[in-house]
């Protein structure tokens, strides 16, 4: 995510939660998902990803457990919790409102 990370605080949390809607994933998969979904515009560095995951877990938005990965290696999988879903919904709503407003301003 590079420099834009600081611009809108909390965006990364939103993106991670959104990615996890697709089901349980390990950290790398989350980063890749965001990368791909953004048409390779956004790159999530591990230096931002893991602190964010750790924070979300502490806030009880996601939970983690160890499982086997696609290449049969042990990996830590994150999945959304009920609280995470609620938070995602409310964050998405406010994001939509915010970005709509910004769009509207820029369009005039």
């Amino acid at each position: 995510m590079g420099k834009s990370e600081n611009l809108l605080q909390g965006t990364l949390d939103l993106l991670i939660l959104h990615a996890l809607q697709r089901g349980a994933m390990h950290g790398y998969a989350i980063a890749q998902t965001i990368h791909l979904l953004s048409d390779e515009v956004l790159t999530v560095e591990e230096g931002s990803l893991y602190p964010a995951l750790s924070r979300l877990e502490l806030d009880d938005c996601i939970s983690s457990s160890w499982g086997a990965s696609e290449n049969n290696r042990k990996a830590k999988y994150y999945r959304m919790t009920a609280r995470g879903k609620k938070i995602l919904a409310s964050r998405q709503k406010s994001w939509n409102r915010l970005s709509g407003a910004v769009q509207q301003v820029l369009a005039q």
Binding site: H26, Y28, G47, L53
Partner: protein, 871 residues
Amino acid sequence: MNSLRRTVRKLLRRPKLQGEMEAELAHHRELSTQNGNRISLGNVTSIKESALDPWRFVFIENIWRDLLFALRSVRRNSAYTITAAGSLALGIGVCTAMFTILNAVDLRPLPYAYPQQLVWVTQVLKANSTDELTLTPDFLDWRDGNRTFQHLIAYNEYTRSLTGVAEPIEVHSVKASADLLPLLGITPFLGRNLPQTADLAGQERVALLSYPIWQSRFAADTSIIGRPIRLDGEQYIVTGILPQSFLFPGAEQVDIITGLGKNEAGELARDGKVFTIVRNVIGRLKPGVTNGQARQDLTAIQAHLPLPPWRPTITIKLLPLRDHLFGNAKVTGIVLVGGSLIFLLIASANVASLSLVRLMQRDRELAVRRVLGAARARVISQLLIESSMLAGFACAIGVFIAFAIRNLLVAFGPYGLSIYGNLPIDLRVIVFASTLLILTILIFGMLPALRMSDFHLGEAVAAGQTSITGKRHNLRLLSIASAVEIAIVIALSSSAALMLKSFWNMRYKNLGFESQHAIAVTLNLGSSRYADKNREFSFINQLLDRTAAIPGVEAVAVTLASEIPPGEGHATNIVRIEGRSLAANSRQKALQRGQEVNASYFKVLRIPLLEGRLLRDSDRANSPPVVVVNNQFARRYFPGESALGHRLQTGESENTWYTIVGVVGDVKTSGLAAYPEPVVYTPYGQSDGARLRDLGLVISSALPVASIAPEFRTIVAALDPEQPVAAIESIDHRLNASVSRPRFTANILFTFSCFGVLLAIIGVYGVLACRTRVQIREIAVRQALGAQRTAIISNVLADALRLLIPGLLAGISLALVGNRLISSLLFEVKPGDLTLLATVCAGIVVAAFAASFLPAFRASGLDPLVSLRQN
């Protein structure tokens, strides 16, 4: 609720997360490389740290880490730690101990109800002399006529013999008005207060027992109430027991209180048939009455009262009770606390300069921390934690020191502190100690920490500057502080040296006798049984014979209790010398101390015979009357001739002429601080026995008092079961006790000055260490240009001289002025004793030079290449 859940989650989950994070990151990297992404450059440890940060209790953990680090650095620098913590601990300890005195005497309320209403009253009678006492009839008129007091009571103190118990003892007792307890707001622990009628003569035979005496002499027997006890052979009925916590409002604690017993009608008649005095009057003011109003009230009553026959002028003195009890102690307490606070301040300043020196040695470490991104606040907090730890440690030791020495202060302290038993350590003392702690942390922790973080250390390292002490004026401030310390220390040490020398002179010089192996015993034969001279002498003679037979006793001698060294008071007995007219002016009357002794007295105390012969056991009532005089007497009244053969008459026996048969050496019997006075020794066999009722024995024995005392008491009990032994103690003990006050002052001053010398040394060391550190480049360049080691050392020592000389000069002038203040306390020492002053100065100069050698050697031992490269 939420935060609690988070805390629990943190505590439970975190240890596991810490282990997992590494594997997770490794997995991430592996996948990343496999998929051909570029390898991210992040530092694994740093990512781990920041990922785990939310799970941490950051604030507490940082403090904890700093504490651990501080502990490690404290252990590494044990010399620094011990010096710094030690001097702070002493400072805080001494301050706190002094404060407990001030607290007890000035701040803590007296242990009575509404203590601010309590006042002490006395008449001041001025005629030929000035006396502070109150005439009983006037007291009675005050008591009955005043409008400003709730209660007004009087009491007198007496030493009486308590008999009828297992072993007769002397007790400290008072005869007091029955209103004493209601006035103080005290109710007896058991039984009742004295009845009001006990104020009247004939009905005063009632007693209140103190809790300790009830415990120790009456086995805490509750049935004692209503039963009689014997005081000086008379029966008193016990009405009550005083509470355990009761403190008598006087200088000494009281064992027994009995009725005042005044013939009130007779006193008020003022016809001279009955006329007594009371020594202590205490009053409780009515609420809202001021001391001034009370004094006016009493003065108005006094104005209408007739004067006693000798027509003195009578004024009334009225003081708050606290001031009467502790007046001197309060001033002394304030002075001592003030003095010790200055010491603490100097100690803190010293420790601050020491910690600056240490910081300079660590500037690289701190700079590296800052460069690596430690926030300024973190560096400050780390330094503060280090100094707080040190100060906390010092404070703990300091309070312990205070706790230990406060009891010594009570034991040796000359003030009326015994009323409190132990000086209480209460909330006020603890608050005081904590304030000191915070103060010291602020002074010696905050200043260096702030200064330290103020500089851009990264730049400092790059530029090779020792930035911390870069500003010269800071060094100058330290130098001035150090010179002032030296001055104070010289003044203080010279006073201490004077006091020590004076104490030594007093206690050990020119005693005139040998105090080793001598035991003094005093008995008060005041009871009516010994009014008969024959009974008295038979008792004394039997006592002498049996005591001499105790195994281990070499000799026993009889004398007057008041004349056993160190003795007290001044000679007041008139002596008439044959062939000389008695001058009318009393100043020129020949005076002497009369002493009635037996032959072995001189042997027991090893008093040398100078001329003639000693007294003999054969000098009896029926043999020619003889006396022995001391050297002082012979020199004063027979200058230029021999005293032998002259005859004299003493005040006691005006009809007998005594022949002087011998002259002996002078003995200090007017107190150790006074010169020997003329003494006339009369054979006790030729005395009328009246003065011998204050009987004194001196026993010569190699055995300690503890093994003689029980034997002696058994003998007295066998001769007369009703007769108590007033005291039995070694003469050395008596001598030591008599100089407890100068000893206390000397000890305090000596301790302070030792502490001061230590501080001055630390101060000199700190300043010079700072200075050499600042000059390190200069020194290195000089070394590189060929300067010798000795040149570098002498350079640093010259710096030391620059501190010392102004300090010395100021100190000597301060000492010459200051020592005059204590001149009244000195014995056989002049305040301007230059040898002593020179010794003290020399000692301090040597100590200061020793302190400056360390930094000098360190500077000279540096490798110039290394120091140039480093800086």
